[in-house]
């Protein structure tokens, strides 16, 4: 019973991850500026990679027939955690660098960062 639940939850996470990957890649192509595209790319990294990795670890937990399934489960869960830390950090650093070096066009409707920095 519990194995069935783990398998189907993992598969659902897989499908959700695939949908978000598709949405992220469409956004990467269609969004207007660098910053919004960065947002789309990070959606691909977080929902499109972290969720399927957790799905893999759930499926591996629920299939004792596969040799070394606990290793697979643990490794993919740890990888998911690392990605969860690294991916937002990476896009934050990219956005920070792009903003500071003024290398991309910057036409905001509201610039709260500038208001903050003026204080």
């Amino acid at each position: 019973m519990i194995e069935q639940v783990l398998f189907w939850t993992g598969s659902a996470l897989f499908i959700i991850g695939g949908v978000f990957d598709l949405l992220g890649s469409i956004g990467l192509l269609r969004f207007p500026s660098f910053y919004v595209r960065l947002h789309a790319a990070t959606i691909g990294a977080i929902y499109g990679a972290v969720l399927p990795l957790i799905g893999i670890s759930l499926i591996a937990l629920g299939s004792p027939g596969i040799p070394g399934n606990y290793t697979i489960a643990g490794a993919s869960f740890v990888t998911a955690l690392i990605l969860l830390v690294v991916a937002p950090m990476g896009s934050h650093v990219l956005a920070h660098a792009a903003h500071k070096s003024k290398s991309v066009s910057w036409k905001p409707f509201v610039d709260m960062l500038e208001e903050d920095e003026e204080k």
Binding site: V85, V86, M89, H92, V93, H96, S101
Partner: protein, 247 residues
């Protein structure tokens, strides 16, 4: 189309066709049987070296002398590289900006993880794929991460300078040499393993000298690469001035 593009296309087509021709003419296939030498290693590594990891056993035991000379060559390469760039620059900078606190916090977690994995790779080198060299390279990456995020100056303030790292590297290499030479005292050959070193310590398998070699190689490679990384990194103030000059 520019001449450059045409040249690149010709190069691509040429390389791909050469690769395909070699594949068709020589018809390379994976060998169906294991060679005699390979059979020997598979059958006897656990008995000879008491290590389940045959690659480490070959590198540090069967042909250990060769590996020790290789380590010396790498050390000479690093010393040579540092000797060429002999700008004895005294950096004393006031500004320490670095990146934002988000990047700093993330880097802290990641550096801890990388260091843990590097130690695991090195100290489990006689049990699983890995060993001193990959572990040391992984540990040196932490320095390359810390320099852009926390700035070079913060590392220097903590007492991590390339001179000290080179000293650590020299000590580790000396220890590695001692591990290799010590069996001579008992009248054995240099780089003797199980006749001199115990295979188990406190009930844990260390495969004789393999563990010691991996540990010292790990320290030597990590400090050597970190020293080179520190030496090649540019102080933040200089970098900012360069950017301003470019505008």
């Amino acid at each position: 189309m520019s001449r450059r593009t045409i040249g690149l296309i010709v190069l691509l087509v040429g390389v791909v066709s050469i690769a395909l021709t070699t594949f068709i003419v020589f018809n390379p296939e994976a060998p169906k049987s294991v060679r005699e030498l390979g059979k020997y290693y598979i059958a006897n590594t656990t008995r000879d070296v008491s290590s389940p990891e045959a690659v480490t056993a070959i590198v540090w035991d069967y042909r250990g002398l060769d590996t020790i000379y290789e380590t010396v060559v790498l050390y000479m390469a690093i010393v040579g590289g540092l000797a060429i760039s002999t700008t004895t620059r005294k950096v004393s900078l006031k500004t320490r900006t670095g990146l934002t606190s988000i990047a700093r916090t993330g880097t802290r977690i990641i550096v801890l993880l990388i260091a843990t994995i590097a130690f695991a790779i090195a100290l489990h080198g006689h049990l699983t794929p890995g060993g001193g060299f990959p572990g040391g390279s992984a540990l040196a990456i932490t320095v390359m991460l810390i320099v852009p995020v926390y700035t070079l100056q913060s590392l220097l303030d903590q007492g991590v300078s390339s001179t000290r790292l080179i000293a650590v590297r020299g000590l580790a290499l000396t220890a590695l040499g001692l591990v290799a030479i010590l069996p001579v005292i008992k009248g054995l050959e240099a780089v003797t393993n199980l006749k001199f070193y115990p295979s188990h310590v406190a009930g844990m398998l260390i495969s004789g000298s393999l563990w010691l070699y991996n540990l010292f190689e790990f320290l030597a490679v990590a400090s050597g690469f970190a020293a080179v990384a520190l030496y090649l990194s540019i102080p933040e103030e200089v970098y900012r001035e360069e950017i301003k000059g470019g505008e």
